[in-house]
Subunit: 205 residues, 3 copies
C-alpha cells in the first residue's frame, strides 16, 4: 500500500483519533489529571506508536512532524474526550473499545508501512504489533500501570493476527483497502472477544 495515499492517511488518522480519545479518557478516569495532563497523555497515546514505527523504519522526521494532520487530530481528539467525558457516566467500555480500534488500525498501518520500506514479511508483522501496542504502552508506563501488552492475554495476539492478514493480502496482490480493512476488523473482533470472555493465554505453573 502506498503510504502517501489518502486511504492510508485515513486509516492512520482514524487510529490516531481513537487512541487520542482513549488516552485522554484514561487520563481522566485512571489518573484524574487536569486538562494539560489529559491532552498530553492523549497525544502521547495517539502519536507514540507511530513515532516508534517511523524511527525503526528510518522514516524520520516521523509522519507526526511532516504532516500537520497528526498533531491536529491527536490534540483535537484529546480535547473532545476532555469535554465529552463530563456527560459520560461510565468510561470503562468506551475506553476498551477505542483502545481496540486504535490497536487494529495501527497494526495494519504499521505492517503495511514496513512492507513499503522494504523490511521482510515477518518483520513487518512484528512492526505492526509494535506500532499497535507502542502508544498504549507509553500511556501505561507514564501513569504507572503495568502495560496491557504484558498482562492482557489477547492484546499482542490480535495485533499480530491483524498485521499478518494485511501483509498477506498485500503479498497476494489483493487491492489495498479490502486487505487493510479485513486485517483491522479481524484484530478488533479477536480483541473484543478476548475482553468479553476474559480470555487468558496459558500461564506457567
Amino acid at each position: 500500500m502506498d503510504t502517501s495515499s489518502p486511504t492510508y492517511l485515513v486509516l492512520d488518522l482514524t487510529g490516531t483519533f481513537a487512541f487520542a480519545l482513549n488516552g485522554a479518557l484514561t487520563a481522566i478516569r485512571v489518573a484524574r489529571l487536569d486538562i494539560v495532563g489529559v491532552v498530553t497523555l492523549g497525544m502521547l497515546t495517539a502519536l507514540g506508536g507511530g513515532m516508534v514505527r517511523d524511527t525503526l523504519l528510518d522514516a524520520l522526521p516521523p509522519a507526526t512532524f511532516r504532516d500537520w494532520h497528526y498533531l491536529t487530530v491527536a490534540a483535537g481528539g484529546s480535547l473532545v474526550a476532555f469535554m465529552a467525558s463530563r456527560s459520560l457516566d461510565r468510561l470503562a467500555t468506551p475506553i476498551l473499545m477505542l483502545d481496540a480500534a486504535g490497536l487494529s488500525l495501527f497494526a495494519v498501518s504499521g505492517a503495511l508501512k514496513g512492507l513499503e520500506f522494504g523490511i521482510g514479511f515477518g518483520q513487518a508483522v512484528i512492526l505492526g504489533a509494535i506500532t499497535a501496542v507502542g502508544g498504549g504502552t507509553l500511556r501505561d508506563v507514564l501513569i504507572r500501570e503495568i502495560p496491557s501488552v504484558l498482562t492482557s492475554g489477547l492484546y499482542a495476539i490480535p495485533a499480530l493476527v491483524g498485521a499478518f492478514v494485511a501483509v498477506t493480502g498485500d503479498r497476494l496482490g489483493i487491492s489495498d483497502l479490502p486487505s487493510a480493512v479485513t486485517g483491522a476488523v479481524v484484530c478488533f473482533i479477536i480483541r473484543m472477544l478476548g475482553v468479553r470472555f476474559d480470555v487468558h493465554a496459558p500461564r506457567p505453573r
Copy 2:
C-alpha cells in the same frame, strides 16, 4: 539560529548542566541512590530530551555523541551535585529551580533546532516542548514517579509558550540571542509562578 554557533552550544549546554544537577539531586533526595545511580540519573535527565529531539529530527548520531561537551557537562554536573548535596539542608527549592531552568533552555533550543531542520512552525513549538520535558519524564519514569508533565498544571504550558516566543522571534527576523533568551526567560517565569502559587489547569468534573 545556527545550531553550530557558540551561542546555541552555550544555551544547550547550560540546559544540560541544569538538568544534570536536577536529576542527580532528585536521585539523592527522592530515590536515595548511590553515586552510580546518582550520576546515571543525572546524565539521563540531562541528555534524554536532546536525544529524543535529535532522533525525531533525524540528526543522528545525536549531539550527545558527536560533541564531547555534552557527556562531560552531564557527568560533571551530576558529580558536582553529588558532592554539593552534602552541604545542603534542603534540596526541594534548588531541584525545582534547576528543573525550570533546564525546561526553559531546552524548550528554546529544541524549537530552534527544529526550525533549522526544516519542520513547520507548530511542529517546532511541539518539538521544543518535547525536548524540554523529555529528560525529566525519563527521570520520573525510572524512579517510578508520575511525570511532572502529566500532573503539574504549569509544566508543558510554559515550555510551549517559551518555544513559541523563540520561534516567533526567529520568524520575525529578530537576531538569535535576544529571542532565544526572551523565550527562555518567559518560560522560566511562568513555570516558577506556577510553582509559587500552585496553579492548576482545569480538571474534568
Copy 3:
C-alpha cells in the same frame, strides 16, 4: 571489529539469547505473566538495548529488523525459558547470571559497533554501557521495578569497564575476538563479584 562478521553476530546473538531467557524468567518469577506476556518481556529485554544502540548510531532499520536471526533467537529464548521454568525450583540465580551474561556481551558489541560507525572512544564506551543496560531497563520499567542500573552499585560500572577493555583492544590493534571476549569476561566477573559480595558504591550522607 567488522559488525557484519560471523564473530560479531555470534557475540550479539548470544547476548540476545541470554537476555531473552532472563527477561522471560523475570516475567514468570516477578510479574507472574501468561505466555504472551512472558514472550513479550523476553523479546523486549533481548532486543531493546540493540534497538536503542542502532537508533543512536543511525543504523536504521535496526539489526533486529534487517536480520531475521535476532527475532528468531529472541522469541526462541523466551519460549525455552517459558517451558524450562516448570522444572526449575529456584530462578533467582539463573536470572542474575543470564542478566550478567547479556550485560557483558552487549557492552562489548555496543562499543565495537560504535567504533565502526565512527563515534569517539569515550562515546563508544558510553554507548556500550547504554546497549548493555538498555534492555534490562525497559524490562524493569514495564514491570514497575526500579531499574538495576540505578540501584545496583556494580551494574553500570562493569559494563563501562568491559566496553573500555574491548575498545582499547581494538585501538591497540589486537585482533577482534580476544579483545571482545576479554572485555566481556572482565565485565561478567566484576558484575558477579558485585552480586556475590553485595558491593555498593558510596552513597551521599
